[in-house]
């Protein structure tokens, strides 16, 4: 099976894209720091050794040339974070940056919620709905624990999946991630169990889910189903600048995993996220990746369709409002016959924002009767902003049906005039068009989520930015 995705991306077809020189890596990461992390977490021997092997790989691997936008990474800074973990940057609600506080107020969030989002509360245990949900998951036999805890309580099962889908051997930053990982969540859905409600993990696991190098694994055993929501569409203040997280999905025969991320972190974050899933026979993996915040986001949720008749969809939404870059997309490897995939990318660029779509659709030799459809829609709100699309197709079977469509929309003065003549301000008109542009992905999201997302998008274009 061809899983060397990073190599695939170095394919000559992508040469016209301007890449930076090697990423400058400042400082050093010593063996003792990695040992220390493992010791503090009281990890079993296998995990300690695993981290060290990953560290060796990190040191050995060349710096990638395919990670654009990121100029340098300071390992000393990252290491010092582990040695002396900083407490939350604010100690009470009033110390939050006023714009974040104001947004929370405008979103109409209850105070406990807002405090939680701001990192001032560590758990929402008092909220009945979460307790009820926890009880339900327990009853169904679903394991959902912070990764550290899962390693202690279910070492055998975690060991079976950790690094199985996204090994540290993949590239330098995968190795760095595996050496330093901390936080994240482990989910295991037993055979035949269908979790009836979407699980908003953020509210169970809290800030640990969004660590700097968090590692999340979702395993769907045969015939199971789960919708897992990571992150939160409300803005979140983050303290570290470089984020190198990882998500591994393993969908066993006939199972279905929906993995939803909506990220709205503060605008100083470089968010590099490694997301990959494997789907066995007849399994379905659905990714929803919504990226509103951060300064730079680089993430390409990927699925390896390993089993006959497996399916995947990737829905990627990137909003680049202002001096931000979203380099997103999706990679699909069709490694078995009768597999199908669908990628929908929606990007919105405004006030100088940059959106880039990179996609890979690969149909391996022997993967007959494959279908794949990619749709990239870009909405560009002004001349300062841009959007580019780089789809790559590697098709090794002639009967594969692979299609790609790309469209670009711009808002015209006459459209704005029409809408403002109905009483909406120009910014309100823009936010309405933006919402209309993304609304066809809403049915994929739970209702509470879309209503929050709707408010966030309105605020994003009404208050902070927008044209005019």
């Amino acid at each position: 099976m061809a899983i060397e995705l990073s190599k695939s991306l170095e394919h000559h077809e992508i040469e016209p894209v301007e890449y930076r020189k090697e990423i400058e890596i400042k400082g050093r990461l010593s063996r003792s720091i990695v040992e220390e992390i493992s010791r503090v977490k009281k990890e079993p021997e296998w995990m300690r050794l695993y981290r060290l092997k990953a560290l060796e790989a990190f040191e050995k691997f060349p710096s990638p040339r395919w990670l654009p936008w990121i100029e340098s990474i300071d390992l000393d800074e990252i290491a010092s974070y582990y040695v002396k973990p900083a407490a939350s940057t604010v100690s009470n609600f009033d110390e939050l940056p006023s714009e974040i506080r104001r947004i929370y107020e405008r979103l109409g969030l209850p105070e406990t919620y807002a405090k939680y989002l701001a990192g001032l509360l560590t758990a929402l245990d008092s909220e009945n709905i979460y307790t009820a949900m926890k009880d339900l998951l327990k009853k169904l036999g679903v394991i959902m624990l912070p990764m550290e805890e899962a390693i202690q309580k279910y070492p055998d099962i975690v060991k079976k999946y950790f690094g199985r889908v996204f090994p540290y051997t993949d590239h330098k930053f995968a190795a760095l991630h595996h050496a330093l990982w901390s936080g994240g969540v482990f989910v295991y859905v037993p055979r035949g169990v269908k979790v009836p409600y979407p699980v908003e993990a953020f509210f169970f696991i809290g800030s640990e889910l969004e660590g700097q190098f968090e590692h999340t694994i979702v395993v769907g055993d045969e015939g199971s189903e789960i919708t897992f929501i990571e992150g939160c569409s409300a803005p979140r203040l983050k303290r570290h600048s470089f984020h190198d997280g990882m998500v591994e999905l393993y969908a066993h025969k006939g199972s279905r995993i929906n993995f939803v991320t909506v990220q709205n972190w503060s605008r100083n974050i470089v968010n590099f996220n490694n997301k990959r899933g494997i789907a066995e026979d007849g399994a379905i993996i659905e990714w929803v990746e919504g990226s509103i915040g951060s300064k730079i986001t680089v993430t390409y949720p990927s699925t390896i369709l390993k089993g006959r008749g497996s399916k995947t969809t990737s829905t990627v939404i990137g909003i680049s409002n202002g001096n931000v870059i979203k380099d997103t997309g999706s990679k699909i490897i069709h490694a078995a016959p009768y597999t199908s995939s669908r990628i929908i990318s929606k990007s919105i660029s405004s006030n100088g924002g940059i959106n880039i779509y990179r996609g890979l659709v690969q149909v391996n030799k022997g993967a007959l009767n494959v279908k794949s459809y990619t749709q990239c829609d870009s909405l560009i709100l002004d001349d300062k902003s841009s959007s580019s699309t780089y789809p790559i197709e590697h098709i090794m079977e002639k009967d594969a049906e692979v299609a790609h469509e790309a469209t670009t929309f711009r808002i015209t003065e006459d459209q704005l005039f029409y809408m403002t003549s109905r009483g909406l301000s120009e910014k309100e008109a823009v936010s309405l068009i933006v919402l209309g542009f993304v609304k066809d992905i809403f049915p994929k999201l739970p209702f509470e989520y879309t209503s929050m997302l709707t408010k966030v998008i309105q605020l994003e274009f009404k208050e902070i930015g927008g044209v005019g």
């Binding site: 015209t412 029409y418 003549s421 068009i433 209309g436 309105q458």
Partner: protein, 244 residues
């Protein structure tokens, strides 16, 4: 009263409106006639505040307040509503969501897409009344709409938003007989309930049906005549040549 006073308007470095003054009184209908290219649409765009139509001189007053340089949406909130001659396509925005946003805006709501109790039924009721297919209410606005459907959707918006001053730019173009009757009745209704109407039209039948209190005639960006229905009759018989 809605007034344009000594208006001079430029678009793309060309003067399109030259020293035009008109008054639209409440409780009556004001008509604007003129051959193609005489500046009628430019005038209503300038009154509504289209950003490409630069006002070089003169002023626009709504109920005595100066809106000459106010943005379009403030004019709308002050009571103006323009029924467009060629309503534009809006991908992703439905008639329903546009009206809901406009209503929420008038209610001072923050979340413009908030549910408005009774509004969906109201919209469907109006759609039925003016003969607009129900499914068009939730479809992307004007995309795949026929000319007549676009006009009906404009009237539907106006009926729900209830503007104080209704400006109609050739509302009868592309409309069937029933459609023209619906618009004519609505125009009379607005005037009857003490609103003001500025009606741009070539259609003598429509004019004789709504009986405007005053008719202005434009030519080359200027008002060249004003008077009663007799002007419309003369234009119907002789065209515009006698005014040149």
């Amino acid at each position: 009263m809605l007034e344009a006073l000594n208006l001079v308007v430029e678009v793309n470095n060309k003067i399109v409106i030259n020293d035009v003054s008109i008054k639209v009184e409440t409780g009556s209908i004001t008509a604007l006639m003129g051959p193609n290219g005489s500046g009628k649409t430019s005038l209503v765009y300038a009154i509504m505040g289209h950003p490409s139509y630069r006002i070089l001189k003169g002023s626009i007053l709504i109920d005595g307040l100066d809106y000459t340089f106010k943005p379009t949406h403030e004019r709308a909130l002050a009571g103006l509503f323009l029924v467009f001659q060629n309503p534009i396509e809006l991908p992703g925005v439905s008639l329903e969501s546009l009206i809901r946003s406009a209503v929420n805006k008038r209610l001072g709501k923050n979340d413009l897409l908030e549910h408005v109790p009774g509004l969906p039924d109201r919209i469907l009721g109006e759609a039925k009344l003016i003969g607009l297919k129900e499914e068009l209410v939730t479809r992307d606005l004007n995309i795949g709409f026929s000319g007549g459907e676009r006009k009906r959707s404009e009237i539907l918006q106006a009926r729900v938003l209830k503007p104080k001053y209704l400006i109609l730019d050739e509302p009868d173009s592309g409309l069937d007989v029933d459609g023209v009757r619906i618009i004519a009745d609505y125009i009379k209704e607005v005037a009857y309930s003490n609103g003001g109407v500025l009606l741009v039209t070539h259609n003598p039948t429509l004019l004789s049906y709504v009986e405007p209190g005053i008719i202005y005639v434009m030519l080359n960006g200027r008002i060249v005549a004003e008077g009663g229905l007799e002007i419309a009759d003369k234009i119907a018989r002789e065209g515009y040549n006698w005014l040149r």
